[in-house]
Symmetry: C2
Subunit: 373 residues, 2 copies
């Protein structure tokens, strides 16, 4: 079973943990023991997930399924001399089990000695903390980039430290940092017409009206090595319940990725990031508002659109199936009408079990779509 997931950071990480867990239950690693979250064998090998043989790493359940995650890079930035890839690192730390579950981001047991110095030097953003352990990752990445490695090479190296049981690939090796167009007359922005996404998101908590989002270099970007193949060769493609505009949206904006999605034989199933008209986590509503999409599970599904629209509906969409929460079950007929196979299931990922159940529902919907073809 080959599953490819398009995902952003924190919410994406929660979903991917569920996918990994569910796969371990359905397709346990060959030769490994019970799959209930332990280390099933003693053949830990760095990077084994990318071999497609399955993983017996210590950081997650062992599965024979080949899980690839195409990671949003639109949140990435240069800060204080180092390259940050926040969504990638969120996935890395979370899947490795070294994330700070209290705070919801960064490394567990983090400290901020270097950040205190950077504030003294007036370098970086005082409202954007770089933890010491986290800085180790950024320095390693920056060092390897200086050595000439591509971000996808760096991603592969970072995953050697902790066998994740999944393979993370940045969507593109091109730097496609997102910038947010704002009103320069807004007193908070000091006359600037554009803010880096991280400033808009982290400093202003998306509280300043975004006129538009634009990703640098996006027209010239190409999918990172392995991305198009992972979509083309998948048995199932899933859209994590990540921000449809700046996370999934950035991935989809990389030339070549829409084409790969359009032509893959795998069913493509998305999971709504909206429950009952509210964002599950993050501030996707502010982003949706900017692109004129309602904060509504059905509206986001229709924004992605159907690959095989029903008669009379507009074509050129991305999805075959769409999962909404049970509270949004009333929207199912309109989604089906637009050509989407839609199902309502419990969408809240409260813990590993509910995340796995959600992943299972997405995989089941994909199987149903394949069977109905």
């Amino acid at each position: 079973m080959r599953i490819t997931v398009l995902a952003g950071g924190v919410g994406g990480a929660r979903f991917v943990r569920g996918v990994r867990e569910e796969c371990a239950r359905r397709w346990p690693a060959t030769g490994s023991g019970p799959t209930d979250g332990g280390s099933g064998g003693d053949t830990h090998t760095a990077g084994i997930a990318s071999t497609g043989i399955g993983s017996t790493g210590t950081n997650g359940p062992a599965t024979s399924a080949d899980i690839t995650v195409v990671v949003n890079t639109g949140d990435d930035l240069w800060l204080a001399g180092v390259r940050l890839m926040p969504d990638f690192d969120s996935l890395l730390y979370s899947l490795a089990g070294v994330n700070d579950t209290e705070r919801g981001w960064g490394r567990a047991g983090e400290s901020e000695r270097v950040s205190a110095e950077l504030r003294e030097w007036g370098v970086g953003w005082p409202w954007f903390t770089l933890g010491d352990l986290d800085l180790g990752t950024h320095l390693a990445r920056t060092s390897w980039l200086r050595d000439g490695l591509r971000p996808s090479d760096v991603a592969e190296r970072l995953q050697r430290r902790w066998p994740l049981g999944v393979r993370l690939i940045p969507a593109t090796d091109t730097e496609v940092d997102t910038w947010v167009q704002v009103d320069p007359a807004d007193p908070a922005v000091d006359g600037r017409a554009e803010l880096h996404f991280q400033e808009w998101w982290t400093r202003f908590r998306a509280g300043i009206t975004a006129r538009a989002f634009s990703q640098r270099n996006l027209a010239d970007a190409r999918p990172a090595p392995g991305v198009a193949e992972a979509i083309a060769d998948a048995d199932v493609v899933l859209f994590a319940p990540s921000n449809p505009v700046v996370s999934i949206g950035t991935i989809l904006g990389v030339p070549g990725i829409r084409e790969a999605l359009a032509t893959t034989r795998a069913p493509i199933v998305g999971v709504s990031p909206i429950i009952g008209g509210s964002v599950v986590r993050g501030m996707a509503d502010a982003c949706l508002h900017t692109i004129g999409v309602e904060t509504d599970a059905a509206a986001v599904g229709l924004h992605y659109g159907s690959r095989r629209p029903a008669q009379g509906a507009a074509g050129g969409g991305l999805l075959d199936g769409w999962l909404v929460d049970e509270t949004d079950a009333a929207a199912l007929p309109s989604l089906e009408e637009a050509g989407l196979h839609a199902t309502s299931v419990p969408l809240w990922m409260r813990d590993l079990d509910t995340s796995a159940a959600l992943a299972g529902a997405a995989i089941d919907l994909a199987a149903r779509i394949r069977d109905e073809r």
Copy 2:
């Protein structure tokens, strides 16, 4: 009084502290109170040392003398994605009073959380520790370099945090990292014919025979802004008792610096880094051996040579005067014979007073040379 000092790192820092102290005693800052090492006023201004008005910073005694230090950059390197300038930082930390006096290098109160992570990532050199506080400096520098600042601009910014009472300028803005040619058959070097100076120095403690030293890009380097002027306009130029080969030697190798020294009207006085045939600190003997100079106070003085050689002696040297330790007083006649004004004084810098006394002796020798012209 304008004093310009050519200096390397730790030994240079000790000497420059002495120069600053001695200047405060001889030429106290106008309008400031007692000069015995306290903060003489309340008009702390970042960068005031570069105005030539003198400094009333909290980090050193106040003097009206204008002290400029031309800092060796041959020890600099890229490591773990950041730019290190070890000699500059040694001077900065020491003059700011934030250096670790126990260990002899780095910041006081240092920790190594990031370094532990870098070891996990296999990035950097396990035998070259980057302290957390120190990394703050490296990240600030690297960030500013990424923004397009020159190393000399970065140096100026770093000095804003702590008014030093002296102005530090890197000898050149060009990256002139020193590499050491070694025997590739030496089992310790894994077949390499060349090591970065820091590997040879810090990892191997200069214990592998150096066939030669070469500085990258040195032929294309130019003095950093202010360096040639500081030499040309000085009343006194001093060579700190730093490594004559890889510290002072690198500074002298920057095209334009020898010319500035040759033409300045200021007397040029050097201080021997060798006492009684031994290196005061560091491993300069290994470096001297490589360039065929004896580890001997007189030999190093003659290696620098006299600007105004006595009849029959070789010309084209760099110095007017040379200070040796009292134990090396027997060498004075041969130095005088070679055209150098030589004096023997206590050379050990055990504390601030002995450092100041040594600086005073160098300034006195310069005055004597000027008077005798």
